[in-house]
């Protein structure tokens, strides 16, 4: 089932405010939401893929 | 188990990387861990006393006689029988008891010629012998000194015995 227009608008609105994130992340996130709404659940592997794309500011590390 | 070292023997004989006294020679002239073990063993037999299981390491250091000692298996078996007969104070005429001891300790099918009970006892005698060695001699720093000290032990013992 296609996403309700208000849900699409919400996605647009929220993602527009995520300037730090990549285009790939935005695309994959939309797809994730689409899948979870139409199918009811998504695989852990799919969520991890999207997680890997999330950009966070640098911190201490190697 | 077959052969187990008494606890403390590795330090006494400076066994490092499987070599006592840092021996670097190869071939039959190298002093083996088993050589150290048999030195303890002979002293233990001589004492007519064996030690306790908790004086031994938890693992075998060798699964059977090394090539250098293979021919001597029956000799060690005989010495064990002799030591046990003496320890248990069995009269030489007591045929039945002597036979019983031999039945208990010997087994031709094993590579050590000893039964399992015999094998266990063997290690305990080594523990007792090591006690004697440690009490009598300061830890030698090289092989030559050890050989000489060990000979001295037997010489002294002979002198005591004949005194």
């Amino acid at each position: 089932m296609a996403l309700h227009p208000d849900l699409v608008t919400a996605l647009d609105h929220v993602l527009a405010r995520q300037q730090g994130q990549s285009e790939e992340f935005r695309k994959r996130f939309r797809r994730l939401v689409d899948n979870v709404v139409s199918v009811g659940r998504v695989k852990d592997a799919d969520v991890r893929e999207v997680l890997d794309l999330v950009v966070v500011p640098d911190e201490v590390g190697l | 188990m077959t052969f187990r070292l008494p606890i403390g023997a590795r330090d006494f004989f400076r066994i490092r990387g499987g070599r006592p006294f840092g021996a670097t020679e190869t071939g039959s002239s190298r002093f083996l861990i088993f050589d150290a073990f048999s030195c303890c063993l002979l002293l233990g037999f001589d004492r007519r006393r064996h030690g306790e299981k908790d004086q031994l390491e938890g693992q075998d250091f060798l699964p059977g006689y090394p090539d250098t000692h293979r021919g001597q298996a029956v000799i060690y078996a005989g010495l064990l029988v002799d030591a046990e007969l003496a320890r248990k104070d069995i009269a030489p005429e007591d045929r039945g008891s002597v036979e019983r001891e031999m039945v208990n300790l010997l087994d031709l099918t094993s590579s050590t010629r000893l039964s399992e009970a015999g094998n266990d006892l063997l290690n305990l005698y080594a523990a007792s012998g090591f006690e004697r060695l440690r009490d009598a001699a300061t830890a030698p720093s090289n092989l030559e000194d050890f050989l000489i000290d060990y000979a001295q032990l037997w010489r002294v013992r002979d002198a005591d015995a004949s005194a």
Binding site: D6, V47 | S38, L79, G96, V103, D158
Partner: protein
């Protein structure tokens, strides 16, 4: 997906539901008006619809209350649906004796349309159809007040369920679960989660790394120095030799001495080898040992042990009928022979003893070989000592006569040797891999390179793990916040949409009242143009607001659900009825309305002018004894003078 009700059936249920089978057609008409007096099972039917739509467990008391009378033991309710034009039947079988209710489902695509046990609506629908939502489209007018009530979360929950925001919430939980799982996986290596803990791990790792660098530097330094010193030592030794060589006489003596020392070394090695060879033959270690072995052999001989007769002899004998002495062997004797045979040596044990005796005989010695070899060794050692002393004395003499230069060289040689010894020790400390030696020298990761490498690697691993874990956790947090923001924004937009739509309808239904939904939070917060915040409304107003809200809610949802309502207009005044009757039905793809005769005016009659193809009229009248009569058609509907069933 579009869900429609195409009919239902009741059997052996009370009220007017003993024998009811209503077919609404496939596809059903858009609006179905069912005129049915009170007491004929209207409420029961609604409740059964709700069960059919939720598949919920039915308590035994409820089941038993459905029983038509004592003459029946079982009953049934069937709800016929069309899901995107595919027929589907939910059947509930009642056992009035036990109070059990069992669901089964017939799906056109499965099993040729036969009944399968269980409530088996499609998965998406299943997740959606929970009781709170179902009550909104199988609607009891009394719920109208609840939608507006303080403290009830109905409005927001309905929006979330219907517009599928719940899965998005689940997504957020899934992210949280992945973080927890990941954390459990790595917690054996590191439990650090905070930035401060990470910084500490980094400091520890850097300390190990720096120590490693430092130790390697030391090693190189010492190695280089050792090489330099060794090469200088060789030079010095060569210079010393050169000078000493000029002292011909003494040089010759030195040569001879060195030759003697070499010969002595060979003799020492021979003596060691002899001693070891003797050591490996116990009979040669000491006379006492030899004697004992000898004595044992003699003793055994005296005792005539081992017998030439062995245990095997007795075992075999026990198997015979006759003894060697000729007498018969009975079972009793057999038993004794076998039990006593255990006392005798087995053949192999005999063999060991015989071998021992043989070995002794073949290696005659007086048992003194070892001691003698060691005496020789001692002598060789003393000889070596003497030779070394003479060599040293000779060298001292040569030094004394060799002049300042020789003396200086000798001193330098001694200094170099001392420093080399120190370097060798230091290098061993730095480089030894032997754990016993490391313990003996009390080495740690700050003083020994192999240990330092291990520590560095371990700390690096912990830091990496913790860093990755933290990164994962931070990413999850970020994603979680994006998910929450999406959900929250979507909810806001949907609430606003529903609010607008509700107000648009209210503007028509309650033309004179100007009632508005101000805000949808957990409930509907009303405002009126005239009075400000309006909290208490009349029953009719409540109902109107509820209809406006529900229709707005349901009309746009991804799932098209039928709207079933019980007495939709009873408490509305005629004018409002008219508005509701004209406006509301247009918002649904399917509506089923249970009305009583007194509602016809204003509400039902609003349908008369609609297209006949779109409206079904059913009139249900009691026939007595639980039986009912179903009449179809507008005229029967219009003319019915209903009386409540007694």
């Amino acid at each position: 997906m579009r869900v429609s009700i195409t009919g239902w059936k009741c059997r052996n249920l009370r009220g007017g539901l003993r024998e009811v089978d209503l077919d609404l057609g496939s596809p059903p008409r858009r609006w179905t008006l069912v005129q049915i007096p009170n007491g004929l099972g209207k409420t029961t039917t609604m409740e059964l619809f709700r069960y059919g739509f939720t598949g919920a467990a039915i308590p035994p008391e409820v089941v038993q209350n459905l029983r038509a009378d004592d003459t029946v033991e079982t009953g049934q309710f069937e709800l016929r649906l069309s899901l995107d034009d595919v027929p589907c039947r939910v059947v509930i079988a009642f056992d009035f004796r036990s109070g059990a209710a069992e669901y089964s489902t017939a799906r056109a695509a499965e099993r040729g349309g036969g009944l399968e046990p269980g409530w088996l609506l499609p998965e998406g629908l299943r997740d959606l159809l929970k009781r709170p939502l179902v009550e909104l489209f199988v609607f009891d007018g009394e719920l109208a007040t609840e939608i507006r009530a303080v403290g009830k979360d109905r409005a927001t929950t309905a929006i979330e369920a219907l517009y599928r925001l719940d899965p998005i919430g689940t997504l957020g939980k899934q992210v949280e679960r992945l973080v927890d799982e990941q954390f459990k996986k790595v917690s054996s290596i590191s439990t650090a989660r905070e930035e401060s803990a990470l910084r500490r791990l980094k400091t520890e790792f850097e300390a190990a790394r720096d120590a490693h660098t430092r130790l390697i530097g030391q090693q190189q330094q010492f190695s280089t120095r050792k090489a330099v010193l060794s090469s200088r030592l060789a030079e010095v030794a060569a210079d010393i030799e050169a000078i000493m060589a000029s002292d011909r006489g003494r040089q010759e003596q030195r040569g001879t001495l060195q030759g003697d020392l070499d010969a002595n070394l060979a003799k020492v090695n021979e003596a060691v080898a002899s001693a070891m060879a003797a050591l490996r033959s116990p009979a040669q270690v000491a006379p006492a040992v030899r004697e004992r072995l000898q004595r044992l052999g003699d003793q055994l001989y005296t005792l005539k042990l081992p017998e030439s007769i062995s245990r095997e002899f007795f075992t075999e004998l026990a198997g015979e009928d006759q003894c060697v002495c000729g007498r018969p062997i009975s079972d009793h004797e057999r038993g004794v022979i076998v039990s006593r045979s255990g006392r005798y040596l087995a053949e192999d044990q005999i063999s060991v003893i015989n071998q021992m005796k043989l070995a002794l005989r073949d290696n005659p010695s007086d048992g003194r070989a070892y001691v003698v070899a060691c005496e020789d060794l001692e002598a060789r050692q003393r000889e070596r000592q003497t030779l070394n002393h003479r060599k040293d004395r000779l060298e001292r003499e040569m030094l004394a006569d060799g002049g300042e230069r020789l003396t200086a060289l000798a001193e330098e040689r001694d200094r170099i040797n001392a420093e080399l010894r120190t370097l060798v020790e230091a290098l061993e400390r730095l480089t030894t891999k032997d754990p016993d030696r490391q313990k003996q020298l009390r080495l740690g990761w700050e003083t020994n390179i192999p240990l330092c490498q291990l520590t560095e690697a371990g700390r690096r691993h912990r830091l990496e793990t913790a860093t990755n874990m933290r990164l994962f956790a931070r990413r999850s947090e970020k994603l979680g916040s994006i998910i929450r923001a999406t959900r929250s924004k979507a909810l806001d937009l949907l609430r606003e949409r529903v609010r607008q739509a509700t107000n648009d309808k209210l503007a028509v239904i309650l033309r004179n009242e100007r009632l508005r939904v101000e805000r949808i939070t957990g409930r509907l917060e009303m405002a009126s143009d005239r009075v400000g915040s309006k909290e208490s409304l009349s029953e009719g107003q409540n109902l109107a607001v509820a209809y406006a809200f529900l229709t707005s809610l349901l009309q746009d949802a991804p799932y098209k659900l039928p709207f079933v309502v019980d007495s939709p207009a009873v408490s509305l005044d005629v004018q409002v009825r008219r508005e509701v009757g004209q406006l509301i039905p247009d918002f649904f793809d399917q509506m089923i309305m249970f009305v009583i005769s007194s509602e016809r005016q204003g509400f039902a009659d609003a349908f008369y002018s609609r297209d006949d193809d779109e409206v079904a009229y059913l009139t249900i009248a009691p026939l007595g004894g639980g039986a009912v009569d179903v009449q179809r058609g507008k005229s029967a509907f219009r003319d019915f003078h209903g009386r409540d069933a007694s």
